[in-house]
């Protein structure tokens, strides 16, 4: 029973990881840049949504406006900063995204301060009782929203003209340019979509665990997700997100207590700490050793 309970909370957080990781894959595919600032967009999205809620907007509207603002922020980043670096080396561009992460953290620190803020109630409180398993509305809503949006985005990418141009730009940017696709604009769209998805992901994380600068750490979880899923595969990011969410939940809820109990019996060690934060990276290292292209990736994708 506890296993099922853990699986459900794991799936809920995992769906949010997937949402945020999607954005990293999207940008990587069409520009080759691994965006280290993705966590920062999640954090910024959470704070912006918080500010909108404080202004008195209804929850749904606040979330939607927050996503729109984040899309603008993503597009602005591409237009103002990254487009000027078109000829720069990819590694330099990635360093710039790392700088963006630091900048956005400082920005939020200056405005909202270092303390954890209680996020306003967005979804109804309480939980449903499903055959002895309790699922809070928060988790349910996070799961539903994140999954719906991820799937909607995948469908958009697969079936619309813009999605098609995105795929072409991702597949072969030079060819796309030659046949008359404005590749830079496609990269802009990728940044906008990526930041909007991350913004929603951040807001959902804030409804689950409160609002603080630490939400930007989600970017670090997202990297194991995309490495496991394959840097090039959107569907891979989705599935790996669920996988890692569940792995974390099980580690925290079952593995850690079991190990601690074992250790207490034989040693003076009382706690194994936040083992659930180590596990994703263990998986990342294992993955890079065994199958560097990820579960769904194609061989030959550059590893960074």
């Amino acid at each position: 029973m506890i296993a099922l309970q853990l699986a459900i909370s794991g799936i809920a957080t995992g769906s949010v990881y997937a949402l945020i990781a999607l954005g990293i894959v999207l940008i990587y595919k069409c520009s080759g840049v691994v965006n280290f600032a993705q966590g920062a967009y999640a954090m910024l999205g959470a704070y912006v949504t918080y500010a909108l809620l404080k202004l008195g907007l209804p929850a749904l509207l606040a979330v939607l406006v927050g996503m729109a603002l984040m899309a603008l922020a993503g597009m602005a980043t591409e237009r103002l900063i990254l487009r000027r670096m078109l000829k720069a080396q990819i590694v330099s561009v990635m360093m710039v995204t790392l700088g963006l992460l630091i900048f956005f953290r400082a920005f939020c620190l200056a405005i909202w301060g270092p303390d954890q803020i209680a996020f306003p109630q967005v979804f109804p409180s309480g939980s449903i009782d499903f055959a002895g398993i309790f699922i809070t509305y928060n988790y349910l809503a996070a799961f539903a929203l994140a999954t719906t949006l991820s799937v909607a985005f995948l469908l958009f990418y697969r079936h619309t003209s813009i999605g098609l141009m995105q795929r072409c730009a991702a597949d072969n940017p030079r060819a796309a340019l030659a046949i008359g696709i404005h590749v830079s604009n496609q990269v802009s769209i990728a940044w906008a979509a990526s930041a909007a998805l991350a913004g929603l992901g951040g807001a959902l994380l804030a409804t689950l665990g409160g609002l603080s600068l630490n939400i930007s750490d989600i970017g670090l979880i997202a990297f194991p997700v995309i490495v496991v899923g394959g840097l090039e595969s959107l569907a891979g990011a989705l599935i790996a997100g669920f996988l890692l969410g569940m792995l974390e939940a099980f580690t925290e809820g079952m593995l850690s207590p079991a190990i601690e109990e074992f250790l207490r019996g034989f040693t003076t060690i009382q706690s194994v700490g936040a083992l659930q934060q180590v596990i994703p990276y263990g998986l990342l290292v294992l993955m890079l050793l065994v199958r560097p292209q990820g579960i769904f990736g194609r061989a030959g994708t550059e590893r960074v």
Partner: protein, 249 residues
């Protein structure tokens, strides 16, 4: 006059790839651009298709200057092209590539909203019938580009350019690597495309049989500039053209 190029020159280091080249193409006309290897034909097309920026010269399409425009901007003016070597796209199917052509030009009916919404089955069907069927590609509409033969890929590239509904079409060696029969078929397709869409065509090609059968006027290039212009029959008779192509005889 529709397309008018004057004095176009480009150098790569010490090599004058194209020097003081002129070209005129009338509405609905098919002009063949021929010349020995290294004459600068593809470089010339690249210059007026937005790939290379020439050092000197002017080019206008329907009175608007076109030098220095990007391929995307040229598409909006109705100028599309095909390529000598076909680009490789891993994930996309034939139909995807055709739809890319249709999507890439912003004059597309329905505008921006239509690009966001709908993968329209009816529109797919229409593209299949109007573009893929005449090029014998209808059967492979849902195959990936990589799985096709070289000749089929050439056809896909042409269909992709046609999906842009061009008013001016550059074809860079559309039948190179095809058999003579395939080449003549392609020539017939190009003529029928012109008849249907009324577009002007500039066609770089080596296969003289196809050029003679397809083009209405021929411009001969050698060492980066125009040395002759005339009808196919005149071109075949001209001693200078024979000398350049065949050596002194």
């Amino acid at each position: 006059m529709s397309l008018s190029v004057r004095n176009l020159s480009i150098r790569f280091g010490g090599v004058a790839a194209v020097s003081e080249m002129d070209l005129d193409v009338g509405p609905g006309e098919i002009v063949g651009l021929i010349g020995p290897n290294g004459a600068g034909k593809t470089t010339f097309i690249n210059c007026i298709a937005g790939v290379n920026k020439p050092d000197m010269g002017e080019a206008s399409w329907k009175g608007k200057p076109i030098l220095g425009l990007t391929p995307a901007a040229l598409l909006r003016l109705g100028v599309a092209r095909t390529f000598q070597s076909v680009v490789s796209l891993h994930d996309l199917t034939v139909l995807d590539v055709i739809k890319l052509g249709a999507a890439a030009h912003a004059r597309h009916k329905g505008g921006f909203a239509a690009q966001f919404l709908g993968s329209d089955k009816a529109r797919d069907q229409e593209l299949c019938e109007t573009l893929l069927a005449p090029l014998n590609l209808a059967d492979v509409a849902y195959s990936q580009i990589q799985t096709l033969s070289y000749g089929q890929r050439k056809s896909v590239d042409l269909a992709r350019a046609l999906a842009c509904e061009p008013e001016l079409l550059y074809l860079d060696e559309p039948v190179a690597g095809l058999t003579l029969q395939e080449g003549l078929n392609m020539g017939a397709v190009i003529r029928s495309v012109r008849d249907r869409f009324g577009c002007s065509v500039v066609m770089v090609e080596h296969k003289m049989d196809v050029v003679m059968a397809t083009c209405e006027r021929i411009t001969v290039m050698a060492h980066g500039s125009r040395i002759f212009e005339g009808t196919p029959a005149e071109t075949q008779r001209d001693p200078e053209v024979r000398r350049v192509y065949l050596g002194d005889a």
